[in-house]
């Protein structure tokens, strides 16, 4: 790997700004998550803020973190590491400000109780127009830029391209309820809403797994790994899962049986292949390489462990006989949180600290490095308790015959309290990591950009 280089051109710097905004969104997301968890347990707490307002803010910030970190990585990695000259460098700044402006409008809409959609896109539909427009521009821009690549396309180019294209498709699908043909049939409306959300997760997985491949390639220095047939197989399986894997979410919706059976058949095979690739990558590292990028390596390593744990749950949930009981319980929440925090966040943090370690070199030391290291452990240990508590609560909801909703809700309170308290640990750990990364990614004195800053 090359040594630190503080000289970053303008679009690559804006890429870092996307990542920094994403880190801020993650910080807000975990805070709102903890507040929402306590609001769930103690509805009279936080007067003036209702759960139906806190939850969409939390979810939107989580989605923002994933997309901002992935987009920022692409904008940064293409010019800074791959030597690609972005076609329209000035547009990167416009994309950033439109994203930030739209995000603030969405936040304002939620706080005023002005909703319109559902789940990931619960804000009024008109606010999706700037997101849609800038994403089209972003997609064309990145595709045209990647076409300049003289080398064969590594698999992460394919993944990024597919993620970008399918985000547009799924984002459009999420608004089909505005068309009467879809809105006037509750089965169609529900099925397609969840088709779009499932494929949306598939599209961001493409961006995130592509980023994981890139980070692993940079850390290991093995340029062949992103060109192997195995890596391409992972991409194809992720693609198929994106297309049909969503259907395990709607086993309980009375749509056609073939939709559910197809999803069951495809299951979550992509995670198994990803776990295998990460495992092989770890074996290829020498001790020196591991220590050269310790924080970024730790996060990717952690994602490896979480992939295995989530894989078990995901496969169980895609078996209809298990899904029958787990559906609509906190097991589903454990699945969503486990993949979002354990896999996506860990991989993206690996990407963030790859930037930090390469850009800052030996300047990444002192309290910043300590906070990143301690935050890593605090967040991961908290996540174990967090997911364990959700699994116990969800299992009780699923497998005990309750008289009614209220009896069930009361019975799981102790476990949801453990979940909420461990959420505070997760908040503390992730905030330490976020503050450490933000501190290192802040623009430095222009004079420092001439040469690496090895001040410590």
């Amino acid at each position: 790997m090359e040594q630190s280089n503080m000289s970053v051109n303008k679009p690559a710097r804006t890429g870092i700004n996307f990542v920094m905004l994403g880190l801020a969104a993650l910080g807000g997301c975990v805070l709102l998550g903890v507040l929402g968890a306590f609001k769930y347990l103690y509805p009279e707490a936080l007067p003036g803020f209702e759960f139906h307002q806190l939850r969409p803010i939390h979810v939107s910030l989580a989605v923002s973190w994933i997309f901002l970190a992935a987009i920022g990585g692409i904008y940064h990695y293409l010019p800074h590491y791959r030597g690609i000259k972005l076609k329209w460098p000035g547009s990167v700044d416009i994309h950033f400000w439109v994203f930030l402006g739209t995000g603030l409008l969405i936040l304002g809409a939620y706080l005023m109780g002005n909703f319109g959609g559902r789940e990931y896109w619960a804000y009024p539909p008109s606010l999706s127009i700037p997101i849609f427009a800038t994403w089209i521009f972003f997609g064309i821009h990145i595709l045209l830029s990647m076409r300049q690549e003289k080398e064969p396309w590594p698999v992460y180019y394919w993944m990024w391209m597919t993620g970008i294209i399918f985000f547009l498709i799924t984002f459009s699908e999420a608004y089909l309820y505005l068309v009467p043909f879809f809105n006037e049939n509750v089965i169609r409306e529900t099925t397609i809403q969840w088709k779009s959300y499932g494929a949306l997760v598939g599209s961001w997985n493409m961006l995130v797994y592509g980023t994981a491949m890139f980070v692993m390639e940079r850390i290991s220095g093995d340029k062949k790994m992103a060109h192997t047939n195995e890596a391409f197989l992972l991409y194809i399986l992720s693609f198929i899962a994106l297309m049909v894997g969503w259907s395990h979410h709607i086993y309980a919706v009375p749509s056609a049986t073939w939709i559910r059976m197809l999803g069951y058949a495809v299951s979550m095979a992509e995670l198994a292949i990803l776990a295998h690739i990460i495992w092989e990558w770890r074996k290829s590292l020498t001790p020196d390489q591991k220590h050269a990028h310790l924080i970024s390596y730790r996060f990717i390593f952690a994602s490896d462990i979480w992939v295995f744990l989530n894989l078990i749950l995901a496969i169980l949930m895609s078996i209809p006989a298990f899904n029958l009981f787990s559906h609509g319980t906190h097991i589903t929440v454990a699945h969503a949180m486990g993949t979002t925090i354990g896999i996506n966040t860990m991989i993206l943090m690996g990407s963030v600290f790859l930037m930090v370690e390469n850009l800052c070199g030996s300047r990444f030391a002192g309290w910043s490095k300590k906070w990143a290291g301690h935050g890593f452990w605090i967040s991961n240990v908290s996540l174990i308790v967090f997911l364990g508590a959700l699994m116990i609560a969800g299992s009780m909801e699923a497998f005990i015959a309750w008289e009614d909703f209220y009896e069930k809700t009361e019975a799981v309170v102790p476990f949801l309290l453990a979940f909420s308290v461990s959420g505070i640990g997760l908040l503390g750990g992730l905030w330490m990591v976020v503050v450490s990364a933000l501190n290192m990614l802040m623009p430095v004195d222009p004079r420092e950009q001439i040469a690496p800053a090895n001040t410590e």
């Binding site: 139906h52 559902r118 099925t191 693609f239 056609a256 073939w258």
Partner: protein, 140 residues
Amino acid sequence: MTEHQPWRRFLFLALFVSFFFYSASVYTSGTALNTAPAASDAALRGQTLFRENNCWACHQIYGLGGYMGPDLTNVVIDPNLGPDYARLFIEEGTDRMPNFEFNETEVDDIIAYLEYAGAAGNYNPKKGELTWYGTVEYER
């Protein structure tokens, strides 16, 4: 571009095209409404109110949504609960649900939507029957 890329490009295009055929099938035959009457105007207005007040954040239809409140798929058509039971909650709120101050027409619309959702299918997964190969057959 390498010698590997043409077939990779072909594979991408094949999957991309098949996605559109698959989606078209889901949009049409896969989600045809077989068991319920078409939605009334009141039910459609109720559905919009459900969205605009983010009821999904706390409630579920077919087990999809938030968990702060109960699944509402069959509340209105359940002979032990029914529209009056639902109306009481919607009009008054509870310690876990704010009073949204819906007017009488809006409450009627939301109840019409819930009635329509309930008529379209039954969400009672615990009454399913397991098959030997791991799937479930349950009452729709």
